[in-house]
């Protein structure tokens, strides 16, 4: 599957086309379609980004945005690969490219209600079964009145 | 006094000695460990906390004795007895003074070691009967460890028996009377052969007693509480008390074999035994000094891993003990 146009095949330098202005604070950011994530990560890994620092998701109101934060210790530079997936989507696990994503992926999938494909141990990490995906904006937190009546 | 009354009196005396020993040693352990670790140890109960252990014994007596359901009922009840009785019987042959010993045995040394070798069986049964994975591991470790170290323990004592010519503890103490060239007392610790065998004896004794750095069977940081996990109230009390009385027995044995039993250096045996009660006091003091050193080691050293322990035992201590026996035999025949 050919990674789509916005993916930067030569990410050094070219990976810097951050989208909105606000994003520029992050530095090199590559926006990629969900299917192209593994391709981009593999390309970046050969590029010298040998360590996955972090992986997390954020519920943007209408979809979930996954962010992969990579780092190259040699060049001391960070790079971010972002992708947008619908709610309850099936996300391909990247653990064979970066084994560091094993547990963060489980946590993100569990707390945002996604499904992991190709993960050796896709069980829940932090909450027991039956708990709703907590980090969704739809899942409400106890209101002040409820807290007061505890 | 009919022989049976004599036996009962001796048994009650030994039982009393063992219980008071246990109480005093538990309090002493807490105080010594406390002060070693820059804290106080018990201070509230009684004068400077002296009644603390009495309270503990009362607590253990009144606590509910829970028998877990999945437990192998008979073995679970038998195990504390299997551990407690041998450590009580092991007091029999200890020479507290020239004539004061529960039983004057010609083979006192072998008797004590034979009785002490039943304790690991009790620990193994306790580990197995509690049907808990942790205590099973604890029991297995204890069995492997104590059986492996009984061999060097016995071998390390053979040179003493060869030189002293007798296996009776009273005889060994008597042999250590007098001084060598007026300065060095005849204690075996000052005899080069004795010193070597003391080194092996000390390590093997620490392993027999499950003391740090070899407290593998109830290694609290790995096996929760080892073989004693499922025991509560008085059954736990028995296991706990027998551990301390074993400590006293082996320390007393070390004193008898290497530090001249109830003798005082440079003073003749009759002078010591003429004063009533002095030999017993000297013997107990020396035994407690040995226990204090064990507690000092307990407060400082970390724990050895089980396979390192086995390698130390089979590959280093037993060959060393065998070599020592050989050397002692040759020297004993050639020199003395």
């Amino acid at each position: 599957m050919r990674p789509d146009a916005t993916d930067s095949s030569a990410p050094t330098g070219a990976g810097g086309e951050g989208t909105e202005a606000g994003m520029s604070l992050l530095g090199q950011t590559a926006h990629v379609r969900a299917e192209a994530v593994i391709g981009t990560l593999a390309a970046l890994k050969d590029e010298g980004y040998e360590s996955l620092v972090d992986m997390f998701g954020c519920d943007t109101g209408e979809s979930i945005e996954l962010t992969y934060h990579l780092r190259s210790y040699a060049k001391d530079r960070d790079a971010y690969v972002k992708t947008v997936v619908p709610y309850d989507a099936e996300v391909a696990s990247v653990w064979n490219v970066y084994p560091g994503a094993l547990m963060p992926e489980r946590e993100t999938a569990e707390l945002l209600g996604l499904h992991l494909a190709g993960h050796p141990n896709p069980r829940r990490l932090l909450t027991t079964d039956g708990v709703p995906p907590l980090l969704r904006r739809s899942v409400a937190i106890r209101s002040v009145e409820e807290v007061k009546r505890r | 006094m009919s022989p049976t009354a004599g036996v009962i009196v001796r048994f009650v005396a030994l039982l009393g000695l063992m219980l008071t020993n246990g109480v005093v040693m538990i309090y002493m352990l807490r105080k010594v460990l406390g002060r070693l670790h820059i804290r106080y140890g018990p201070i509230h109960v009684g004068w400077h906390g002296t009644l603390q252990t009495v309270n503990d014994v009362l607590k253990l007596l009144t606590k509910e004795d829970i028998t877990p359901s999945a437990v192998d009922r008979w073995l679970y009840r038998l195990a504390p007895a299997l551990v407690f009785v041998p450590s009580l019987v092991a007091y029999a042959a200890l020479p507290f003074s020239p004539d004061l010993a529960a039983v004057q045995l010609d083979t006192g040394l072998l008797f004590t070691f034979a009785v002490l070798s039943i304790v690991p069986i009790g620990i193994l049964v306790a580990g197995w009967a509690s049907s808990n994975k942790w205590s099973l591991l604890g029991g297995m470790r204890a069995a492997a460890q104590q059986i492996a170290y009984e061999v060097p323990l016995l071998l390390s004592v053979l040179p003493i028996v060869m030189i002293a010519g007798t296996a009776s503890l009273g005889g060994i103490v008597a042999y250590q009377e007098g001084t060598f060239l007026g300065v060095v007392p005849h204690w075996f610790i000052f005899n080069p052969l004795g010193l070597a065998s003391f080194a092996i004896f000390a390590v093997a004794a620490l392993v027999e007693l499950n003391q740090t750095p070899f407290d593998m069977s109830e290694a609290d940081s790995e096996l929760v509480a080892g073989f004693a996990t499922e025991y509560s109230a008085m059954k736990f009390g028995l296991l706990f008390l027998s551990e301390f009385s074993n400590q006293f027995v082996l320390s007393a044995l070390g004193v008898t074999l290497f530090f001249g039993g109830w003798m005082l250096p440079w003073i003749s045996a009759e002078a010591v035994s003429s004063v009533p009660g002095l030999p017993v006091a000297v013997f107990m003091l020396k035994a407690y000094a040995g226990i204090a050193v064990m507690m000092w080691i307990r407060g400082t050293f970390p724990r050895v891993r089980i396979d390192q322990l086995m390698q130390l035992g089979w590959k280093r201590l037993i060959p060393a003990a065998l070599a020592l026996v050989l050397v002692a035999g040759v020297i004993h025949k050639a020199v003395l």
Partner: protein, 153 residues
Amino acid sequence: MWGAGLVNGLRITLRNLRRGPIAVKYPYEKLELPERARWAVRPKYFEDGSPKCTACMTCVRTCPDHILSLDVETREDKTKHIDRFGYEIGACMMCGLCVEVCPFDAIRMSHEYELAVTDVSGLDEALLEDVDAASAQRHRAASDGTKDPESDD
């Protein structure tokens, strides 16, 4: 030599033994707290004993755990009467944010750390009960300009 570290370890524990215990026997000896120690929240009063709190609800809004509650009734002449200034000490994490944000310096972080209670209802205290709230002018008069109580919020 193999055993050197072991013997050195014994020497160090003996040296610590000689240094003597450093434990504080708590109920009998107590450590004095540094001046900034933050424990239970306590109200502050003017010299004549009336509370400095003007029931402005700033602290109630600021508290991250919503444990402060203020039942107030405003009379016609704009003066306020505090029925109950509730403070759930059981849930308070003593972060000090309420004291920092209070514009009238009406509450302080005390040094009371012995807060154990025998009954669960003791966990929900009332800082002020059935008392008149101070008015802003009172603060201006009292402080007459030393500290401007009307800082904006």
